[in-house]
């Protein structure tokens, strides 16, 4: 059972317009959410995150919105640029205790391929 879902495998947007990437989750224990950007044959790059106590976090062209009641988050990119073309993964975190310490265990969605056309 997939706890984090990105239902749109791909999204195509014109340069300068808004890109909206969506993510749904089922586990109410998730309390921290992250977006990563990934180019082929490279590792994911951390973009932006949001804690469950907030409903919005903004960083430059990137804004993440969290709707806890709907268990839904979205990433808005405004304005979109051709260099934004990549795979975007959302990830949700819940705490795991191990060896007397804790870490934020990440559960990833399958990713959405964003293509921004010039």
């Amino acid at each position: 059972d997939q706890q984090v879902k990105q239902n749109s495998p791909s999204l195509s947007v014109q340069e300068g317009r808004i890109s909206i990437l969506n993510c749904d989750y089922t586990n109410s224990m998730f309390d921290y959410f992250l977006w990563y950007k990934k180019y082929p044959a490279e590792g994911p790059t951390f973009l932006i995150s949001i804690s469950s106590i907030k409903d919005k976090n903004e960083d430059g062209r990137f804004t993440v919105f969290l709707n806890k009641s709907a268990k839904h988050l979205s990433l808005h990119i405004v304005p979109s640029q051709p260099g934004d073309s990549a795979v975007y993964f959302c990830a949700a975190s819940d705490w795991v205790n191990a060896g007397g310490t804790s870490y934020g265990k990440l559960t990833f969605g399958q990713g959405t391929i964003l293509t921004v056309h010039p």
Binding site: G43, T45, F89, S93, G99, Y103, G104, L106, F108
Partner: protein, 114 residues
Amino acid sequence: EADIYQTPRYLVIGTGKKITLECSQTMGHDKMYWYQQDPGMELHLIHYSYGVNSTEKGDLSSESTVSRIRTEHFPLTLESARPSHTSQYLCASSEISGGTDTQYFGPGTRLTVL
């Protein structure tokens, strides 16, 4: 942001060979992770470590093994590579800050076993 290095970036190797994928980070993070990702799929955690001499298996069963003798170094070893091990292997590290734990990834190793 963490500086994480992985070598080799690409590896093509024959069945039955022993391989070690290297991962190092320079930020002094206690926690380190190995993920496996197949094309078009989500990342799956295969190993993690919360400090020196501590390693645990992740959610996805893997025939690989890891070690953590130094804080900055978290190598992954496959004793006998098989075609089913063909995948991208991603290393990450993290440190709790401000009540959150953000993982930062290395560039990955693309492994192909013939």
